[in-house]
Amino acid sequence: MSKVIAFVDDEQQILRALKRLFFQTDYTCLFFDKGGDLIQYLESNKIDILVTDIRMPEMDGIALMHAVKRMQPKVIRIALSGYTDSRQILAALDSGLARLYIYKPWDNDQLLSKIEGLIRMNDQLADPSLLQEINGLGSLPTIPDLYAKITDLIEKEASAQEVARLVDSDPAIAGKLLRIANTAYYGLHTGSVQQAIVMLGMSNVRQIILTNSVFERAAYMPYAKDLWQHASLVNQGVAYLYSLCYGKSLPNHQGTAGLMHTLGLLFLATVKTDLYLELIEAVEKELQHSQTDNNQSIFDALETEFLPVRHPEIGSFLLNWWELPFDIIEVAYHYREPKPELIVNKELVAMVHLVSHVAFGLLGLTQFQYALDKEFCDANGNLTRHQLAIEDYLASLLTN
């Protein structure tokens, strides 16, 4: 059955341009020049995707997304706006209200491929067999209370002070935030949670709280510490690489892509500890028998054998379930074996792919290592020329 996309914009010309663009696609497209009309339509019909303008008379895009979320929570919500740095829209993205933010003017091909990619990923993560496997894993980590409260605050565009007050109520999280803010990348030396929040950005704070809930449960698992160190190294390395390549800092809502990308691994380690240990043992055995270099993806080959679900799938499933920005979900799904034709934000995936590989190498975590796809890295940001710089940078973080 073809997916139903509803487009909402108060300018007819925009709607007509979109109509022409989507005419030859397989989607069923609906066009509304008022949010209210869509709401009415939703009372007796279903849609899959909403693409909405933000500034509109009567009901604006934010209010519309809230209403649609209430009526049909599974609808993928996308903002399409000419504002480039509206606090409101960024807050919507941070809080998961909008999954993607597309700027006007848009590029036709990119718009199509973004929506396509989003739908594909969504379908993959909603695949019944995956769901079945995941359900078989036992209890999923529920969203921490604190997280829901913070999401709420972010949606209300609350101040850092208010968020700080909330975070302070959980010393473990507060400590973790401070530790991250005081790492070399953020370069802060502070004991103030509020300052740390300002520095990290609300969206990252929220995501750190999430990861923490997973890492917490995995804390006593073998390699949990190493994986946490790896994840935070990668997070800093990606930010560094991004500024090397693009001369500006990583957009806020992508700020925890590195921290999150191995989430599935930790989760599996917690819920399927035995299988996970067997897997690592098997990988280690293989490693001893084989010549090191060209067998780097032993882990991936064996993972399917030992575990019911691969960790990139379960990781991105969790991130999707928690309504994190699409870019981060995509990274978790594709970071090991990027398939360019399936990826929307190839630049970000390429960066994490490279940095994560380097970091596994540096930390001597050969068990988890994968083969580097240099071609992909170079096609998307000409990255391999920075490989040495990244190694140096990560090494310097380790010795500090």
Partner: protein, 395 residues
Amino acid sequence: MKETIKVLIVDDSKLIRMTIRDLLNTHFTPQEMQIEMAEDGDQALALFGTYEPNIILLDIMMPKVDGIEVLMHLQERILKGEVQTIMITGMGDDQTLSKCFDLGASDFISKPIQDVALTSRLKGAIRQHHLIQSLNRLNQELTLAKNQMVQAEKMAAVGQLAAGIAHEINNPVGYISSNIHTLKKYYQNWKSGKNQHIFDLDTDIQEIFEDLAFGVDRIKEIVDSLRSFSRIDNISEINQFDVEQGIRDTLNVARHRYKYIADVQIEFGNVPLIYANGGKINQVFLNILINAADAIKSAQEEDGRTGQIRIETKYISQDETVEIKFVDNGTGMDEETLQRLYNPFFTTKPVGSGTGLGMSLSYDIVVHEHKGKIMAKSELGNGTEFTVLLPVGKA
């Protein structure tokens, strides 16, 4: 280190001059106090310009130019607080003394000169001198800060507008670029003989051209209007200015601020061109318009009324003046707000959304720079009417 206080002793009696100088020298070091002397008013005034004393000890009764005359000559400097004067009085000078105080003298000391009286009066004068100096400094800093704020306000207003305007332009650019891409596709399909178009290509392409033209016109309009704002800072740019075009430009530039808030109704009286700095007058229109939109928005949040802004122009021939009225049906203002409307930094808007400089700047531009008038009539709950009067000729 503290600055050296410069004292000037003016008396026709050498004995008194010497007594005072010697007494002062026993209490103040040369670093603390420099002393010059004059034997009559003429000499004192001549010295004043080069020596620039901070404190003058001034005898009232002197031959030729007496103390009163000296005071009168130095009036301006005294009132500005640049110099303190302590009168030296003899017996029976009471009446003249009160005149001295009227002329700005700050204190007096009677003959014969006594040590305690002299030093304590002098210390008082020194204190006052320092006070006035720090006041002056503060004042300077404030003026500077205000100028910077005014500049920042202009920039902020422009910056805020810029974000809104970018949005206004990004919309048409959005569908123009998308449509061009679509046309290219159509063309490629047509060339390769793949005419798999399903709807009526002819009407579709016609519609695309209409949309393209519409979008380009829209952008052109915005850019043209912006141009008339870009001259804001060319201070002395007085030119023939079309008030009605200025209003149209302002409406175009600020459209994103009112289009979802109010309907704008225009009644132009076909007024003549005036001599004015167009960029600045537009800035005034913009301030008033945005205030109106803000006021309507707040009122709407209360009672959901439909917003209305009416703009009228009229030529008043007997005064050779153009009258521009902005009428809104927003919140209106209470008596207190009306009173303080033009005060710099007066705002009732939440922190971060208004600096309170809009109307004060507008007042400056209309009243001081263009010799015009600006008036507000308002009633709480019932909207506001601003009237701007601008002379047609050069101010």
